[in-house]
Amino acid sequence: MIWSITKSNIKKNFSLYRIYFLATIGLLSVFIAFLNFISDKIIAEKIGDSGQALVIANGSLVFLIVFLVVFLIYFNNFFVKKRSQELGVLAILGFSKRELTKLLTLENLVILVLSYLVSLLLGPTLYFLAVLVITHLLDLTMEVHWFITVNEFIKSLGILVVVFLINFITNGLIISKQSLIEFVNFSRKAEKKIRIRKVRAIIAITALLLSYILCLATVFSSTRNMLLSIGMVPISLSIIILVILGTIFTIRYGLTFVIFLLKENKKRLYRPLSNIIYPKFNYRIATKNKLLTVLGGLLTLTVSVTGIMVMLYAYSLNGIERLTPSAIEYNVKSENGQVNVTNILENDQVSLVDVDLLRLNTNPEVTITESGQTIPYFDVINYSDYKELMKAQGRTNSIEGSESLPLLINYYPTEISLGKTFNLENAYDVTVKQVSTNNVFSFSTSVTTLVVSDKLYAELSARFPEKEITIRTFNGNSIRSSETFYNQFSMVPDVISSYSREYTVKTANIATYIFITFLSILFIICTGSILYFTSLIEIMENKEEYSYLSKLGYSKKLINRILGYETGILFLIPVLIGIVNGSMLLIFYKYLFMDTLVAGNIIMLSLLLCLFFFLIIYGTFYLLTLRSVKSIINN
C-alpha cells in the first residue's frame, strides 16, 4: 500500500518532485564528473608531478562531498516542508508516524536511485564535454574520451547512501517530533524578525571597504612598499580576515541596514515596485543570509581561482615574449650554413636582423638583482642595431638620442647600476645613464645588455675583435607561433624559438590549466544550479502572493518585473560579492606576488575578460531561472 501511495505521490506531485529530482541529478553529475576527472589517467599522471595540484584536487574532493551532502539535505528538507500538510492529512486519516517515515523514505529512495542512474551517464558526459571545451579553448593537445570507472560507481554510491541515511534520520526526527497540528502548520514559513543593527552594519561595511582599500593600495608602488614594510604575511592575513568577516556581516547586517535607509525615503518606497521589492529584499536577507554567504564565499573562491589561473596563463604566454623577443634567435657561428636564409626571406612577413655583440669584462661586476647577485661582463651592442631590432620585433623604442646612452638592460628590475661607472676590459670607462628591463635578446643570449653609441661601439669592436659574436634574429607576426617556420631552424644547435618556448610552457602546465578550469566549471555549475533551484523553491513557496498581487491590480508586466527583481536579488548578492571580492583579491595577488614587468596590461585585460565571462555565465543562469520562475507563476 505504501508503495502504491509513493508511486501516485510522485505522479501527482511531479512539478515539485521535478525540482528535487533535477537538483539531485545536477549535483550528483557534478560530483561524478569530478571523480571522472581525478580518475583520468592522463590528468592523474600530470597532477602526480605537481604536489600543489594534488593537494588542491584532494581538498576540492572533500569540499565537493561536503557541498553535495549539505545541499541534498537542504533540498530534502524543503521537500518535506512543502509536503508536510499532505502528510498531516495522511496522519489524520490514520497513518502512523512510522508509516509516514516509511512513505518519505521510499519516495526519497526512488528519487535518489533514479538520480544516481541518470547522473552515472550525465557526469562522465559533462566531464567529456568540459575537457573538450577546455582543450579547444586553450589550444591544447590531449586525447579526450568518455569513460567511467568502478571506483566512481562505488564512491558516488557511498555518498548517496550517506545522504539517504541522513535524510532518513532527519525525516524520521521531523515526523516523530511534530504533533498533528504542528505537522499541518509546518509548511508555514519560519518567521524571522528583521532587526536593524546599525553599529554592526557600519562596522561590517567598513571592514569590507578597508579590505578593498588595502587590496587597491598594492597597485601603487609607494603604498605597496609601505604595506610590504609591514610584512607580506600579516597584510595577507589581515586582508583575508577582513574580506571574510566583512562579507559575512555585510550580508547579515549591512544589507538590511542599507534597505532600512532606502525605506526611510517614502517617496522612493511608495512606488508600486519598490513597495513590494524593498520589504521582500529585507525578508530574503533575514531568511537566506546563510545561504547567500555560502554562495558569496563559493563565488569569491571560484573567481579568485579562475582569475589566478587566467593571470598565470597570460603571464606564461606573455613571459614567452619577454624570454624570446624574436621568433628565432641564434649565434651565427653555430649555424654552419644549415639554414637556407634566401628561401626564408622570400616570405615578405619575415625580417632578418643580424646584431653584433661584444662580451666585455667589467670592473666592478654588474649587479643584476636587488639582492646583490652579480655578473662579471657586459654584452655590448650599438644603438643602431638596438633600434633596428626593436623595430623588427614590432616594439616601441623607449629611448631616443644619445643622451640616454649607455643604456643597461637588466633581467630583473633593479636600478642599482644607474649612474655607476664601469671599466670595460681595463680600457674604457662607461657610466650607465639609464636602466631598463626592455630586452631585445633572449636571456639565454644576454642578461646584461649594454647599449652604447655607434661611435663607442666601433672603437670597442676595433679594439676587441676577438670578443665579437653575431646574433641572427628572425621576426614577423605570423611566424612566432608557427611550427613550420621553427622546423627550418630546428637543426641549429642552441636555437632560441618563440614557438618551441610556447609549446614547452603549454605542455608543462596542461594539467594545471585543465584542472583549474575544470574546477571553476564545477563551481560555476554548483553555484548556478543552487541559485536556480533556490529561486524556484522560493517562488513556489510564495506562489499565492503573486495571485494576491494580480487581484490587487498589479498587471502581468509589473508582476514579471517584481519576479525579475526578486530572482535578481538572490543572484546579484552572491555574484556581486564573488566578483568584487574576487577582483580585489586578484589585484592583491597580481601586484604582490607576480612579476609586474610582464605585460601587466595584458594580464589585467585577461582578468577583465575572465570577470566579464563570469557575468555572462551567471547572467545566463539568471535568465534561465527567470524563465522558469515566470512559467511557474504564470501557469
Binding site: 517614502k266 513597495n275 521582500k280 491590480g553 502581468k556
Partner: protein
Amino acid sequence: MKQLVLKDVCKKYPNQLNYALDHINMIVEKGEFVAVMGRSGSGKTTLLNVTSIIDKIDSGNIYCADKEISTFSDKEATNFRKNDIGFVFQDYMLLDSLTIRENISVALSLKNVDSSKIDDLINSYAKRFNLYEQLKKYPYQLSGGQRQRVSIIRAIIKEPEIIFADEPTGALDLKSSEGTMGILSEINKTEKVTILMVTHDVLSASYADRVILLKDGKLHMEIDKKDCGESFYDVISQALSDRGE
C-alpha cells in the same frame, strides 16, 4: 443609480456538464450591500470572480457604472482592479514579508497616490480601526480578526466604488466575525461604497441590505431587508432551511 448590472451571464467550466452560472440577471444599486448565499457549488464564488473580472464569462454582459467590464482587455481589467474595486478575502491576502503599513500602502502606491500623503492616510485609517499600534508588525504577529481588518483597510483606503468580499468571516471566530461585519457595514454606510459579499454565514449575511440565494448556478431567491425589518436574520435562516441548507 445602478452600480453593477449582470445580463444573462453564463459561465461553464471545461469538462463540467452543468453551468456554473446559468443566465444570471442581477442589479446592484450604488451604495448597496448585497450578500450572495448558496450551498457549495451553487456558483457564489464564480459570480464574485466574474463580476470582479478575475474570471471571464462565456456569454452575457456585465456593466459597472454603465461601462461594460466583461469585454475589458487585460490592461483595462488590471486598471479596473487597481482603481475601482477592493477585495476582502477569507485568507486575508496579506503579503507575509511586508509589514502591516507596507501591506496597506501597496494599494495606494499602486494607484500612484502622492507618497507624502500615504503615511497620514494609513495612520488615520489604522487609528479608526484600532490598528495603529500594529502598523510596524508583520501579518503573522496579528490575530485573524486583526488581519482581516488590515485587509479591509487595504481595500477601502483607495476609495473604491465596490468592495468584493469572499467569505470575509470564514476563518474567524464569532467575536471577530461580528467585528469584521460591523466594519464592513460601517464603511458601506459612511463611505457609501457598494459591497458584494459571498458568505455561508447567516449572521454575516444579515448585515447586508439584500440577500441573493443561488442554486445550481441560477438565481433562486432574493430577500430584501426592507421587506423583513428586524426579522431579516430569521427570514434568511428560514429560506436556507426550506432549501435544505
